[in-house]
């Protein structure tokens, strides 16, 4: 669709907007659809298996969503700025095994555990960011490479046996009674708070808008005076930091042992949440709210399939369909625009 402006034509009934409302609506149509789908799903599941809406079912769901949604915030920044990070799984493994061993062997207290995990994640993110922003190699190649490096490092630290006998230092982030306030898991509450902050940052600060500009057209962004390389680097460091914190959530929600499968496949879960949330895989458009909804949708589907007693492969099928729908809508939209 094209809007050609003829200076002589009378303005054709513009949508009257309130002053200052120059941004798109806070909740995009795609996000409204997601909310609707979630509500319908939850209602249907509540109807089919009455246990679904009980605390015993919802709390584990929120605890599972937290790490994916949290990393999804960083991934939203990365993808909006025109990149991608497929090294998430490996990075989670490194962060959690480092933290787990220090916690068990050195008796690290809660706060130091968080600091260690975040610092480790930040270093890994910095590696990705430096290579991508300054090495000028495509993000998928770099992070595919670092994913394997991280995996190797993680497995070396594991030294071919699971970390067992961990103390319950991290219970505050866990799925037990210590890990919730008024029935809300702390990990999920933190994720929502950080997501809200990130949502606001992306919409209302110059720095946030610059991410959208870079993903839209990096050359134009540079010409507009944006320090593109630094901003791109920042997206990967943010993701790294969030991976660190998400590793704490992952450690806390498990049992007292941690095995080598930690983080396995998480990059795909995170990217799925971001894409289903309506962020364009081409960059330049997207929102953190969508990612949060996307993560919730993926976990709801998984949890629902399990509770209905259906074969678990079905959840993969449904997630796959959601991804295809989301990407397909995005591509159709772009094609319609190019056909001008």
């Amino acid at each position: 669709m094209s809007i050609t402006v003829d200076p002589n034509a009378a303005p054709t009934a513009p949508p009257v907007r309130g002053r200052g409302r120059v941004l798109p609506a806070p909740v995009t149509p795609a996000e409204m659809v997601l909310i609707l789908v979630l509500v319908v799903l939850w209602a249907a599941l509540a109807f089919a298996t009455p246990a679904f809406l009980s605390a015993g079912s919802i709390i584990p769901l929120l605890v599972e969503v937290a790490p994916v949604a949290l990393i999804g915030i960083g991934m939203t920044f990365v993808i909006i700025a025109g990149g991608i990070d497929v090294s998430v799984g490996g990075a989670i493994m490194v962060c959690s095994v480092v933290t787990a061993k220090l916690m068990r062997d050195q008796g690290l207290p809660l706060v130091l555990c968080v600091v260690v995990a975040i610092a480790t994640g930040a270093v890994l993110g910095l590696m990705n960011g430096l290579l991508i922003a300054y090495g000028r190699v495509h993000a998928i190649i770099i992070t595919f490479g670092t994913a394997n490096v991280f995996l190797f490092i993680g497995l070396q630290i594991f030294a071919s046996q699971p970390v067992s006998g961990m103390p319950s230092t991290l219970a505050w982030f866990g799925r037990g009674v210590d890990g919730q306030t008024l029935g809300v898991p702390h990990s999920f509450a933190i994720t929502v708070l950080l997501a809200a902050a990130a949502w606001w940052y992306l919409r209302h600060t110059a720095g946030g808008r610059h991410f959208l500009g870079i993903g839209g057209d990096a050359v134009a962004a540079r010409l507009a005076g944006i320090r593109v390389q630094r901003r791109v680097l920042l997206t990967y460091v943010i993701t790294g930091v969030l991976i660190g914190l998400a590793s704490i959530f992952t450690l806390a929600k498990g049992t007292s042992s941690l095995d080598q499968s930690v983080g396995n496949g998480q990059e795909l879960a995170v990217i799925a949440a971001v894409v289903i949330g309506g962020t364009s895989i081409m960059g330049g458009r997207g929102s953190v709210l969508g990612t949060l909804l996307g993560a919730l949708l993926v976990q709801t589907v998984k949890s629902g399939v399990t509770q209905l007693g259906w074969p678990s492969q079905l959840s993969d099928l449904f997630v796959g369909i959601f991804i295809v729908l989301a990407v397909g809508t995005d591509l159709l939209r772009q094609r319609a625009r190019r056909a001008v």
Partner: protein, 503 residues
């Protein structure tokens, strides 16, 4: 002298071995619209890039408001007050007009972008450009290219620039939009902005420019008040002393036309294009960017479909829908940009020649006959004098001239009846250029009809039997082989009084 806003003296810039600018001097005063003209490759765009900070000069001095300055990045230029509107709108499709205008220089209040204040400024800017204020909240990707261009200008104005550079702003605008543009430029100049205006359309400079600086072969050759110039005089200054070129006399063949276009049209690009091309003839189409000349060739090759008129090949109407159809009819196209539209860089020469002809070079149209593929490649390499160790050599490692010969070889595998050549010697060194010209002449001598679309005027005059000038979407003049460069250029750039002598 504070009377001078921007001055450049003794600017030199080379890219590797190529001297893009040998010597440039340029002076810009506030309140002035200063046009910069020159042929393709004269150094205009490099000079603009130096002023806007996209490239750094090797030598020379720049002053801004009398102070010596160094501009090493686009940020430096923006900070000085130099705003550039690029030929291609540099905008963000997913963001609104208001955001596009302020991205990189947001109005920030307590850490938060002040949307209301930005919107208010944007409405003011849109008003200056005669654009409706509702546009502020429209997503840029939904706008036409012309409107995007106007948004780019609004974006440049948002920084309250002291110098505004407009690089070919009119190439994609309609006449009505150009009138608005000129009114805005005049208004800005009256407010004391110094405007640098680049255009190929010399006729519009008479309307808008105060001063004209002419560049030729990497040097500025002078600055003239517009009152002293006419379109023809500007063309003469751009071309300089016409180079005498030898061309071997060619017998122009008789016979029925191989290709005939009857009032061919494509809405929005060209209209009423009629021409005849005989077997063995070399016909040139010359036109400036935006004249529609490139689209005519695309229509003949099935890359775009015509909206009216007829294409006749050997007297039969054809309507090629895809390049494959065109190829089956006997039409081959050498695309203008071999890197993006032609070459498979990592593949061998043989692969690059045979691709697209594989059914002919296969057993039972299924299994590629390697021996045949290589024999054909070897034969063509020899005929076109491709300099490479052998046919297994990767094309990406060849020089521009040799790569172009391989691209040409691909078009010759099936002996086309009609060969379309778009910019056949772009980015090719002089020696290889001569050879390619010789090959083209040989092909014509063997009965191929050749249609060349080129923006290289010297080349067009040198190898074509007839040259048609395309301007504003239609053929406006025809020249024979003895035409002078300046006449052709004046005709293409819109000298109303110029009618070419028919061949």
């Amino acid at each position: 002298m504070s009377d001078i806003r921007l001055s450049l003296t003794g600017i030199v810039k080379s890219y590797a071995a190529v001297k893009a600018i040998r010597h440039a001097d340029f002076e810009l005063r506030p309140g002035q619209v200063h046009a910069l003209v020159g042929e393709n490759g004269a150094g205009k765009s490099t000079l603009i890039k130096i002023i806007s900070g996209a490239v750094t000069p090797d030598a020379g001095d720049i002053t801004y408001d009398g102070q010596p300055v160094t501009i090493t990045s686009t940020v430096d230029a923006i900070d000085l007050g130099i705003a550039t509107v690029y030929q291609e709108p540099q905008l963000f499709a997913e963001l609104t007009v208001a955001e596009n205008i302020f991205l990189g220089r947001e109005i920030v209040k307590r850490g938060r972008v002040d949307w209301a204040a930005q919107n208010e400024r944007v409405v003011g800017l849109l008003d200056t450009l005669d654009l409706p204020s509702e546009l502020a909240t429209v997503t840029v990707g939904n706008l036409s290219v012309a409107t995007q261009q106007q948004v780019s200008i609004a974006k440049a104005l948002a920084g309250k620039p002291g110098v505004l550079i407009l690089d070919e702003p009119s190439a994609i605008l309609t006449d009505a939009e150009i009138d608005v543009l000129f009114r805005v430029i005049r208004k800005l100049a009256d407010e004391g902005v110094a405007v640098i205006y680049i255009s190929h359309r010399l006729d519009e400079l008479i309307k808008i420019a105060d001063q004209v600086t002419v560049m030729r072969d990497g040097s500025t050759i002078g600055t003239y008040p517009i009152g002293e110039l006419s379109v023809r005089r500007m063309a003469e200054l751009m071309v300089g002393e016409a180079l005498s070129h030898e061309r071997s006399p060619r017998a122009v063949p008789d016979g029925p036309p191989m290709l005939e276009l009857k009032s061919l049209a494509r809405v929005g690009h060209f209209a009423d294009v009629s021409l005849q091309l005989r077997a063995g003839e070399i016909l040139g189409l010359y036109g400036l960017i935006g004249s529609g000349v490139a689209e005519i060739a695309e229509c003949i090759h099935g890359l775009a479909s015509a909206s009216g008129g007829e294409i006749l090949l050997q007297g039969k109407t054809i309507a090629p829908r895809t390049p494959r159809h065109a190829g089956e009819a006997g039409i081959a196209l050498l695309p203008a940009n071999r890197k993006t539209e032609g070459m498979f860089s990592f593949q061998s020469i043989a692969f690059n020649i045979s691709v697209g002809h594989l059914p002919r070079l296969s057993f039972g149209r299924a299994f590629v006959d390697r021996r045949k593929e290589h024999a054909v490649a070897k034969d063509l390499m020899k005929r076109l004098a491709v300099k490479a160790p052998d046919e297994n050599y990767a094309i990406g490692n060849l020089s521009g001239g040799n790569a172009q010969k391989v691209m040409l070889a691909r078009q010759l595998v099936e002996r086309p009846k009609l060969l379309l050549l778009a910019e056949p010697t772009q980015g090719v060194d002089i020696g290889a250029k001569e050879e390619i010209h010789r090959i083209i002449a040989d092909l014509a001598a063997n009965g191929t009809a050749v249609l060349i679309v080129t923006s290289d005027l010297q080349e067009a005059l040198r190898i074509t039997d007839r040259l048609l000038v395309v301007r504003a979407g239609t053929i406006t003049a025809e020249f024979g082989p003895d035409a002078r460069q300046v006449d052709v250029l004046a005709a293409a750039a819109g000298d109303a009084g110029q009618a070419g002598p028919a061949a």
